[in-house]
Symmetry: C2
Subunit: 344 residues, 2 copies
DNA sequence: TTGAAAGCGCTAACAT
DNA sequence: ATGTTAGCGCTTTCAA
């Protein structure tokens, strides 16, 4: 092997020495600056190849006083929806020459803030929030207003927002259940994080219920697969799905929770959709499996990721100026086999 | 607002001026160096708070000639297994003061190499491969031997390896089907990437089949949900599952593919497990759903993530020296409802 | 078209 | 205990 672990990597200075040119000329070649003769360019390239030189981006970042790194704050990577979004975002970012730094720590509020702080210290050029859970004030105070921030799939008033029509989607989902003749329809909040999107979906649900003269029922997991909290009281999921005044329809804040409910129903012997109809939100990949067949509100994931990255890039480059942008994408209602007419 | 978008962030120089001290003293405080009087420390802290100073990690990295950034190369974030692994890895890394940079681009070989190159240019302190697909030679040539590399969940001979006993797990999975009386058992390779883990699992499958005197059948997706390639010939999945010499058992390279097969069976009206038994590998979260009930080989994900990060950290810090480490974790066989005795 | 030189913000000897 | 100083590798004016 030619490269020993110990030897320091070559710098432009080394390249310059080998090519018998100055540092600046080498720099000009590397940066594809104009005004370099073809002969020189080749001479430099030869030296670069010979030495195996590679740009030290850290030094460049310091000199240029900016980076091409995007900070991505994720709600929960274990949720396929966020994983898919993260994948798209990474793809679009890479295509535009950005490197991404992730920060997943949704576990602990303090850890989340520390993560954001670290991203800022690394001088990320922009911040992208996927599911913004933290106390708004704290995060905002840390971020300040020195770099562009985009919220995807969630919302806050201190950055651009790219989201789906959560209220409309939730309304449509609820309306679907109502149209099928269901009366006792519950809303199930997400177990992990009470994000801004949840609130909008809840609002859409309440709007549809109220319009139909039905009583909203807000559920929230207590001990994940067994009990839920309803009106401040802890109730077993068995009671909710099989009790006297059992729910016949559930609209979950997202597919993952909808699937959890499906699983509860299966274990309790409650037939879906014969005895229980379930609607989700997101349209994650597995929702489409024959065995799941989850009726859900689909978000245009790839499109949202693209718009988010593009918006952030334009803010960074300064091409986009002015007030906060709110870009709301249309949802698509996907009817599958988890919903049916209510029993007479 | 006090902070205008335009004003440059304060540096240690500014802090020093406000505190009436030198840059180095401020630096000493920031780095928690010893030999700073309590009074001075407080004076510096006051100035820091007043100015809202935050360390510029880029400058520090350049001065220290090292970073606390880990490069994570992922196979496919849309596969819940990798997403879960990524989450654990990010967690452990963050807990140890590392920031992570992701690179997902499994789409294109060229893009993958470009991603690795970018991570190196960003001077990552170490590289962690989750599912290493690329042509070994190319990636290795780019990385060289200047920084530590750990392969998790996959293997290569030029870095430390943290993996599950793929061969043993695959053998056990296949053996399970054989013990249930199945004769025509196929192996289904992953559709996205032909990784090293696939080969080991294939080897375990072949070993078990051969031992039982059965003929191995290697399948690979052609057009994802419809056709597979077997012995170089394209065959419809319908033929494979319902034809004259149909398979009665399938061992898939991972859960995602196993679930795809389950889905195919469902759509074709093939009853699982009555007419078809399916075993997966990974034990992703959804495999445990009542509706999926996938029998599978579980990998100790969190433990592997932890060992991987720790190993990488020890290589980086120099605490761990010497030859490549191969740390193989035990698998756990999880029997669920997707497997049963073969029909007589 | 090329080169000299002054930073970028921080660290880490070394001197005081 | 605090300050002085010389870098880290690159960019970017400005001269030559």
């Amino acid at each position: 092997m030619t490269t020993l672990r110990e030897r320091k990597p070559p710098t432009i200075h080394d390249v310059a020495r080998v090519a018998n040119l100055s540092k600046s000329t080498v720099s000009n070649v590397i940066r594809n600056a104009t005004g370099v003769s073809e002969a020189t360019r080749e001479r430099v390239q030869a030296a670069i190849d010979e030495l195996g030189y590679r740009t030290n981006v850290v030094a460049r970042q310091l000199a240029q006083q900016r980076t091409r790194v995007l900070g991505i704050v994720i709600g929960d990577l274990a949720n396929p929806f966020y994983a898919e979004m993260a994948k798209f975002i990474e793809n679009f970012a890479a295509a535009r020459g950005f490197q991404v730094m992730f920060c997943n720590t949704q576990v602990d509020h303090e850890v989340e803030l520390a993560g954001i702080r670290s991203l800022l210290e690394h001088q990320v050029a922009g911040l992208l929030f996927l599911a913004y859970a933290g106390s708004p004030a704290a995060a905002r105070a840390i971020v300040g207003s020195r770099l562009p921030v985009v919220f995807v799939t969630c919302a806050a008033d201190w950055g651009d927002v790219v989201a789906v029509d959560d209220v409309g989607g939730a309304d449509a989902a609820t309306q679907h259940l109502i149209a099928l003749g269901h009366k006792r329809i519950a809303y199930l909040a997400d177990s992990v994080l009470e994000e801004s999107a949840d609130n909008d979906r809840k609002a859409g649900y309440i709007r549809a219920m109220t319009r139909a003269g039905l009583q909203p029922q807000l559920l929230r997991w207590d001990a994940k697969p067994d009990t839920v909290v309803i009106d401040g009281k802890t109730v077993s999921i068995r009671a909710v799905l099989t009790g006297r005044n059992r729910m016949t329809g559930v609209f979950a804040a997202n597919d993952l929770n909808a699937i959890d409910i499906l699983d509860c129903a299966d274990r309790l012997g409650v037939a879906v959709p014969a005895q229980l109809s379930v609607v989700g939100f997101d349209n994650i990949a597995i929702a489409g499996l024959a065995r799941i067949g989850l009726t859900t509100v689909a978000q245009p994931k790839e499109m949202m990721a693209q718009i988010a990255v593009e918006t952030l890039e334009q803010r960074i480059s300064g091409k986009l100026k002015g007030g906060r942008l709110r870009q709301i994408a249309d949802f698509a209602f996907v009817e599958r086999t988890s919903t049916a007419h209510a029993e007479p």
